[in-house]
Symmetry: C2
Subunit: 635 residues, 2 copies
């Protein structure tokens, strides 16, 4: 039976921790990486007992290295080594030993020699009831491609010997996956999956540091598994991810992410098969399909006291009107066209806890779904439990799950605009028209070590897609950004990844105490009129150096008067394929968040060309803040 | 005149900060990277005034991108763009504009077309008194190699047009540097230097993230500069290093490291020239030659109270004898054969300050030099000032400089054994023979962001050499290690680089509050006898799992009785090229340091094969410590 599996090497911590985490995430099958056993301070049979208690089958022990093609007397020693591993497997209750192609300098690459070694080993294994799997390492001395490994397995021709396929080595060697479909299913010993980013790097470094779960990288995991499934293979499909960051993270979170990524992969594979009229494989229990995302219903700020006063003054300056007051809580609703902003000043409950940890900040986002109940069911099925908050009598229960740094992601019904009436008393019917039309995007900052986990959350759990990663320069370092977006692009979230140093992104992590929403981008149809009015209303925008406009006039044949107008107002400009982009940033609010106001004219990007200017200006603003504080302290 | 220069892009912070840092480090010439100007909030002429005040010549403004080979109307716009840059150069007081080869998709790669564009631009530049430099980017659309850039410059044939050479692009493209020697000196506009690690990676990623100062990477900077010098070139030699970590570090430290690396490079170049009977270039002021390192005279622990009692009990257990008491301070000397360990329990002064910040720890190392006065002079000349401590009347003044985390590196005269008598009262003439013979090595832990800086310190300032970097797996992540060693190998220091996560190395950084000495490795001739005695004397060693010995017996044909003896005593084993290595670790002292005792039998490595076992055992010990503490707290 096809089933998901995970190798202990994916997770950090002791072997006990790893087994417990795998079982808790829903795995029923594991591979044991021998180092984990060597470092374990108990007996192998204790591992067997632990695995049995947890309902885990040990599908394989691996790897035995540098086995095949060795000259004597090493060959004889290798068989002795293998017998010791068989003893270990007896104690462990493992049925298969995986051998990876030799990297030894004196190993023979002769197919006949290697096949004879593997045949002899398989015969010995057969006497003890074991199977042997043989895998091509991308950096093997002679055997690098799965086709070479297969040639040797076929030549050895033993019933208990099969090939181990690993998407990592196959894609790292740029091998074609389609011919895998022609392998006899009973000669596939084990199937391993690992994704990786599409970067040029030697295979060994890529393998050691950049392997990731399916969907976190750039390789076509579906095509690989399609070819495997076409053989009729019915064994374990096992995650084998070497990744320092994974080993540094809690094992439970990594095992959960691994299972999420496999379930999403199985789902994608079944969709492909169904589309071609083939039966679904249904490796995972049926997963509720992702609900359709249809925009952001509201964002909620946790705030308090004078910070709240300043925030609300800024919202007013940006053209928002206070339209509602919560029936039972110290919560107000601000609105402008389609944009709802909730300001929560409660002194207990979720928002206040969030405020105490993070300061004034976006504590929740409500996403509109066509079927929020299904969205929640899917999240639950993928290990994201429902958040239950405190509600007043008669108020709406809005289902939510935990997002970055335990902020909330509410799931609301798209188009159910009168749902607000349950919780809020509306103040007359004020004019909510204004220059700002909708939330264009929200940017999230996350720690580098948590990025892949949140990527899998947004993609597998919520049903977002991702765009290629870009890299941005900051005066104090660099950071990476990857955009996730809903299918209809009604929600787009650039995720900015902090990697130490003192970049704006890292300063946010530090000031905020973790990841969160740093930027709220709102669209307008006339940014010039908007900025003039907002400046008059006291909104502070980020100072852009005059040299930026000098440079702009050298780069583009823009009208001098237009450039001057941009300079005076502090508006930035970008151009792409004939489209134009005008945008501006508010001054940073307590080092935590800022608003971007933007006007798109046939332009679909995010103005990344101006990001270094913004970052430098924010760094200036921050330095100035430090200087001001130092001045105050010395006065 | 040949002179050292630095590009503003090497450093982090605002343009003011960068200029000041460059001047402070001794640079008299800088290149301005245009982004720094765009982000600067003042006028270009203010930059000129700042540079003049600091005595800095602005050698070039760069880069103008995607210039040559553009089709009309882009070509005309490019000339307009260039004129705007000339305006800027006028204001800045820069005399040269650097152009890097076009990456534009529609650029022509025709030599004649590109040469005509550059000739026309040079003519325009000549009218305004400027020079043009042209550089091949490794990822240029057509022009990738310096030989191609040279072909275009030669064809254009203008007196104020020259080639810009950058070791980064040249080595990234694996170009030969020797033919550079045949270039006419007056056609070399500018020479840039950047080193990089010898890893396989696409040139652009390598350039953006892994460029480093000469001597920090793996490329042959001396061969490159030799070829340049052979032309008779007499302009600026400029550091152009894009490195996020550098931009995240204080600009002063980076500029200082850049100058150190250039001075060491100039020195190496002159040594090569002198050896061949050529005149030295003497680009830097004469630098005192590195003094010869001849071992470790002592290591000094900062300690206090019961921690000191425990530490001294451990030293006694390891066979050390207390032989001396400081004349004026609460400081004792422990000795065993050639190993001196100083325990400092003073309640004020340097060691105590160090203790307050870092806890019980190695606060100083004394290195033996053939000429400590020259060692100190060299350090001073390279920006490492002398540390002046408090001494008592009649006591020896030992010169020192600051090392990692402001620990001290004392410089003492090799063989001057009776220098101790000035400061210490000796207790009779005790027997200091014992099983431990000498300090084999000391390992340093440093933060990743500080590693390159300390590498340059050890190499350029103190005269160590380095060995290739290795990578080690920890149960909770991975870390890197690079060994620096004295020419006679009397001092070897593996530097372990912490890269976040919760590896043993990172836990050290956290517990210690920065980098420092984590391991003191002492050699013995009979480790078995030593461990038996030390265990009987109450020394606690690291617990090694039985499975390690199972694995050992599978890997090596070792005598069963020997393996059993190792198991009982907790001794680890490695083998390399017929040599054998036996070693053991003491339990971690307050998460800060531990001793390694080792016996080498024709073996010259560090037992890295066993490092994962040690790390796993230390992680177990740490986890156990956490559990014990949790138990205590819940009881």
């Amino acid at each position: 039976m096809l089933r998901w599996s995970i190798a202990t090497v994916c997770m950090g911590g002791t072997l006990e921790t790893k087994l417990a985490a795998a079982a808790r995430a829903g795995f029923r099958t594991i591979e044991i990486f021998e180092n984990d056993l060597t470092f374990f301070s108990g007996k192998p049979r204790e591992v067997r007992a632990m695995a049995e208690d947890l309902g885990l089958e040990i599908v394989a022990l691996q790897p035995l290295r540098d086995f095949e093609g060795a000259p004597e007397p090493m060959r004889a020693r290798n068989f002795d080594r293998a017998e010791r591993k068989f003893d270990l497997m007896d104690e462990l209750g493992a049925s298969m030993l995986c051998i990876c192609s030799s990297v030894a300098e004196d190993a023979s690459g002769e197919v006949d020699v290697c096949a004879r070694d593997l045949a002899d080993l398989s015969d010995r294994a057969a006497r003890r009831g074991f199977r042997i799997g043989y895998e091509a390492l991308a950096w093997g001395r002679h055997v690098k491609d799965w086709t070479q490994a297969w040639q040797i397995v076929e030549r050895a021709d033993r019933g208990n010997l099969g090939i181990v396929l690993d998407s990592f080595h196959i894609y790292a060697r740029k091998n074609d996956v389609a011919p895998i479909a022609r392998l006899p299913a009973d000669r596939i010993a084990l199937v391993q999956v690992a994704d990786a980013p599409g970067i040029l790097m030697d295979a060994m470094s890529l393998s050691r540091h950049h392997r990731c779960f399916p969907g976190q990288g750039d390789w076509d995991m579906t095509a690989y598994l399609e070819a495997v499934a076409a053989t009729g293979y019915a064994g374990a499909i096992s995650l084998e991810i070497f990744n320092d960051q994974f080993r540094g993270a809690p094992a439970n979170a990594i095992a959960r992410d691994g299972m999420r990524s496999l379930q999403a992969l199985g789902e994608a594979l079944d969709q492909t098969r169904l589309a071609r009229g083939e039966a679904p494989l249904a490796i995972s229990r049926a997963l509720p399909k992702p609900a359709k995302i249809a925009g952001v219903e509201f964002i909620e700020f946790a705030s308090s006291g004078t910070q709240s006063t300043r925030l609300e003054a800024e919202l007013a300056g940006l053209g928002f009107t206070r339209v509602g007051r919560h029936k039972s809580k110290d919560v107000d609703l601000y609105r402008q066209n389609d944009v709802n902003i909730v300001v929560n000043r409660e002194q207990d409950g979720f928002a206040h806890s969030f405020y105490l940890v993070h300061g004034p900040s976006v504590c929740a986002i409500a996403l509109r779904f066509d079927d929020p109940a299904r969205a929640l069911e899917r999240a639950n099925a993928l290990g994201a439990p429902t958040y239950h908050g405190r509600i007043g009598p008669g108020e709406a229960l809005i289902p939510a799950v935990a997002g970055v740094e335990n902020s909330l992601i509410y799931m609301v019904k798209a188009g159910a605009h009168n749902a607000w009436n349950k919780d809020f008393d509306f103040i007359g019917s004020p004019d909510v028209s204004g220059p700002l039309e909708r939330i264009d995007h929200l940017s999230n900052v996350v720690r580098r070590s948590e990025f892949l986990s949140w990527l899998t959350f947004y993609k597998a759990v919520l049903g977002f897609s991702d765009e290629p990663q870009v890299e941005l320069a900051d005066p104090y370092g660099a950071f990476y950004s990857r955009v996730i977006s809903a299918a209809d692009r009604s929600v787009r979230i650039p995720i900015n990844i902090a990697d130490g140093g003192s970049t704006t992104v890292s300063r946010f992590i530090e000031a905020f105490g973790g990841g969160g929403v740093q930027q709220i981008a709102l669209s307008t149809k006339d940014i010039f009129a908007f900025v003039e009015r907002a400046r008059a209303g006291g909104v502070r925008f980020l100072d852009i150096p005059d040299n930026y406009y000098e440079d702009l006039s050298a780069r583009y044949d823009l009208d001098t008067a237009l450039i001057e107008k941009m300079r005076v107002l502090g508006i930035l400009y970008d151009r792409h394929k004939g489209g134009e982009f005008f945008h501006i940033y508010t001054a940073m609010f307590d080092q935590r968040f800022f608003f971007e106001i933007l006007e798109r004219r046939n332009y679909d990007l995010f103005g990344a060309a101006n990001t270094p200017v913004r970052l430098a200006a924010q760094a200036n603003e921050f330095d100035q803040g430090l200087r001001d504080r130092a001045m105050l302290e010395t006065e």
